[in-house]
């Protein structure tokens, strides 16, 4: 530790603290304030819990929450595929660095770019349906983004397509920091691939898996705006509207920042509730790394 006069550390901290106060501190206080007002311009009269009442009684908000909840189904799928790919790559099959480069690639690509390409591929007469028809699955050639019952599942598919590489890379990095002797011992004892994965490899990844689950839950609840905006704008109808989109519509299309702030408060509390376990898990994962 450096010995300095009492004020010096705060001097170093101030610019960052000011910037964080501007982007996080002020807005986080302001959403609580705005959420109990009818905002016109910069402020407005106090209306109590009116905005919350409006949001919580709005069937479109219920629909948005239900859609985010449905997207949570992607979490176990992401986990399963990510783990499978990581374990396969860990065994260093031929060309594995090439596979790793390829499989991580979608995560680097911007969502709007992916969204535009996929929304063209998923058109009724698009390439996906052409392939399905060509391999004899004519019955599966559906209007992936245009039909209300399917659109959200299609969006989920695209989310999985992009996000899988992140989990895979995370698990692979953790695996490569493990001691291989344990897996080797299991192999010598005659455990097959499946037994080794279930009883030896995956238990050792527990910390990072739990961490990944929480991060993915937060992603599905509050980081899917650009997928939805680019591919469906929340439609057809409200078939793919999510909480972020609902907030965006109220704030920037209906010009009702008070109502939007009530949604922001709700979303903030959701995230906060998930951040607490995340902290515990991060601490655990770091602990495991040290041992």
């Amino acid at each position: 530790m450096l010995r300095t006069s009492r004020f010096v550390p705060y001097l170093y901290l101030t610019p960052a603290a000011l910037l964080l106060a501007f982007t996080f501190g002020y807005p986080l206080i302001a959403i609580f304030d705005f959420s109990v007002r009818r905002i016109r311009g910069a402020s407005g009269p106090f209306v109590g819990l009116e905005n919350y009442r409006q949001v919580l009684n709005d069937s479109v908000f219920h629909l948005s929450v239900a859609h985010n909840a449905q997207l949570l189904l992607a979490v176990p799928i992401l986990l399963g595929i990510g783990l499978l790919l990581a374990i396969l790559l860990y065994e260093r099959p031929r060309f594995w660095p090439l596979y790793r480069t390829l499989l991580f690639l979608p995560y680097i690509l911007a969502v709007p770019l992916i969204g535009v390409v996929f929304s063209n591929m998923l058109q009724l007469n698009g390439v996906i349906n052409e392939i399905l028809r060509a391999i004899g699955l004519r019955a599966l050639a559906l209007d992936w983004l245009g039909s209300a019952g399917l659109a959200l599942w299609s969006v989920m598919g695209v989310i999985i397509w992009r996000e899988v590489g992140f989990g895979m890379t995370l698990f692979l990095a953790r695996l490569q920091s493990l001691n291989e002797e344990v897996t080797e011992a299991a192999r010598i004892d005659g455990a097959n691939w499946w037994q080794r994965a279930i009883y030896v490899t995956i238990p050792q990844l527990r910390g990072v898996i739990e961490f990944y689950i929480v991060v993915s839950i937060i992603t599905m609840l509050a980081w899917v705006f650009s997928y939805v905006y680019v591919m469906t704008r929340g439609g057809p109808g409200n078939a793919t509207i999510v909480i972020e989109m609902y907030l965006y519509n109220f704030a920037f299309r209906n010009a009702l920042p008070g109502v939007a702030s009530a949604v922001a408060v709700i979303l903030f509390l959701f995230t906060l509730a998930l951040t607490i376990p995340l902290f515990r898990l991060r601490a655990q994962a770091l602990e495991e790394d040290r041992t």
Partner: protein
Amino acid sequence: MNAAPTPLDSAQPIATSAQKHSRSFPWERIARQAILIAASLLVLLPAYFMMVTALKTPEAYSLSKFSLPNPLTLENFDVAMRGGRFLLWFLNSSILAIGAVALSLTVSAPAAFAIARMQFRGGHSFLALNTALMVLPPVVMLVPLFLFLANVRLISTYPGAALVYAGLVTPFSIYLLTNFFRSIPHELVESALIDGASSLTILLQIMTPLSAPALVTLVIVNGLWVWNDLLIALVLLPRDELRTLMVGITVFGSRYNNDVPVAMAGMLLASVPMLIAYLLGQRYFIRGLVAGAVKG
């Protein structure tokens, strides 16, 4: 395509045992390759579609979407370049990303230095709070930020948007730099102190040069974050000539929804710089994104 050794490649012993093992169970090797090839093809399908479609005439596209382009045409790129202002969007995104990353690094390095190397009240709480901010979705903060910037007339300006972006990536910058600064051997700092160096000298002449890997990681991860963002750019930069590449291609994509070859030519133009950057700096991308997630 990727032969350069990366930090993740270093654990060698398992390779030999896995190869030995695969030799005794060829079916296992085949199954493994089959799964990996299938996954890779799924990843490559959109890229393939984008490339072949961008080179197709509209007639060829309506006949077959999957087939290779015949006849080849570059006409789509011409239309795309006239229909979208790719160079301008590209420039806007670059200005924002560079500005935000530079500002964030400038404020984060001193803060991380203080937290990592000085003892003072509130240091630990500051770091804990900072780490919690890393997972907070920006949409939560967006309404007050928008109203505030509108009031001070910074909506639709580079400085306004760059300030917000810089703030949003700063928690990660501080988190990563604090961990990195802590790992720098104490002896180096000690000997500088004996030579009479001030704390500022230590930060600028010892910590910063030694932190090059962490700084590169931050430039890449944060730059990518700003570059790829859609929501904030959509809200804070509503003027046409200030559109970022992400907003630009979103608008472009819906405009050419019925002219798929032109839409794909546009997407190809927009993705080439990123693809090149990824293939050149792959290990930094991976290291940075993994570091952001679990490790310090």
